[in-house]
């Protein structure tokens, strides 16, 4: 689980994407100029346009790459044979830990995607909905089979994802907790938040380990 061994030999397109993600997160999409990006990468502005046809396409690529990596991982959990509580707990834990570790890219997804032009936006919205429905379905299942309290599943899913997404801005590397600890605490809080009609300590992180 070491962070990408192949970083030593990273293509220019990838280096541009990573630098752009960091700058977009830090200064916003509209607050980042192609000149500033070029300087950060160590090339000229023109070179950027050799790898990406436009600033918009670059943002779309950043979002697409991370979505394509994480969605299958969440899908595998969501479609496994575990209880809804356990699946949701693990999916939220994964979601949160990825949001911290890859927060530059995830910030582009959650905060900067709104600046995509209509054509890029259409594709993005579709993938985003595919991703979020994995969580919502699990919540619905848990409500239907009595693992969670009766409640609006859309509203509950919105609340839980919103909670976990907040780490993008609120997490500080200098803080007292590791990403894994934070993800566990958030997933525990989320599961408790859904409520368990049977008061047994079902599927808290501690019970699951």
């Amino acid at each position: 689980m070491i962070n990408r061994d192949s970083q030593q030999e990273q293509g220019t397109a990838e280096r541009i994407r990573d630098a752009a993600a960091a700058l977009f997160r830090e200064n916003g999409f509209n607050g980042t100029s192609m000149q500033a990006l070029a300087t950060a990468v160590g090339v000229t502005k023109s070179s950027l346009y050799h790898h990406y046809p436009s600033k918009q396409a670059l943002l779309a690529a950043i979002i697409e790459v991370t979505m394509s990596r994480v969605t299958p991982l969440v899908r595998e959990i969501a479609e496994s044979d575990l209880s809804a509580s356990l699946r949701l707990h693990r999916a939220l834990e994964l979601h949160t830990v990825e949001s911290i570790r890859e927060r530059d890219h995830v910030a582009c997804f959650r905060e900067e995607s709104r600046y995509l032009s209509p054509d890029f936006m259409a594709t993005h919205r579709q993938k985003r909905d595919e991703y979020e429905v994995l969580f919502r379905q699990t919540v619905e299942e848990g409500i239907d089979n009595g693992e969670f309290l009766a409640q609006d599943p859309a509203l509950a899913t919105m609340a839980l994802l919103g909670m976990c997404d907040s780490v993008i801005r609120r997490y500080r590397p200098a803080g007292r907790h590791t990403p894994d600890e934070i993800a566990l605490a958030f997933a525990d809080t989320a599961l408790r938040g859904l409520g368990t009609p049977a008061a047994a300590g079902v599927a808290t992180g501690e019970a699951a380990r």
Copy 2:
């Protein structure tokens, strides 16, 4: 509690602020030009500079006005004599309902404040911390007196505020729920998320009414 009767006779400075808040939320601070704002208000660019010395100062004013209105309301709840559970529940409910009703202004506070220049930012950070500490202290108190499970109060507060803040982007006026319903559901979820060592249904929204 009707929404500002005096809206009929609103000064130009206020009209500029409201239009700017809406545009900043929709297109971002850096995605909104002073020309676009002037057009929206129905004046020329130059007139804007008669009321606000810079675009930065305008953003700072938008944030300041809403903060100054909501903070005392939360403070009153946080410093009341109720149990920590009830105080937190009511404070989160207020926070959430205001985030929905005044989402243009709150979005400027939560999402666009990062574009403030250092001097404006210093003031902003101070007021933001004063606001959030009201929630954190209540969480701490509830943990200390056994109303909530033992946990890191900073982390828990971050999670709950992050959850409630998500309505800024995820709330849709066309949805099935009123702002009050959403705020109640979120506050209930938040309180459950903190956990109650004594399993009694303490301070859920239903119990509190």
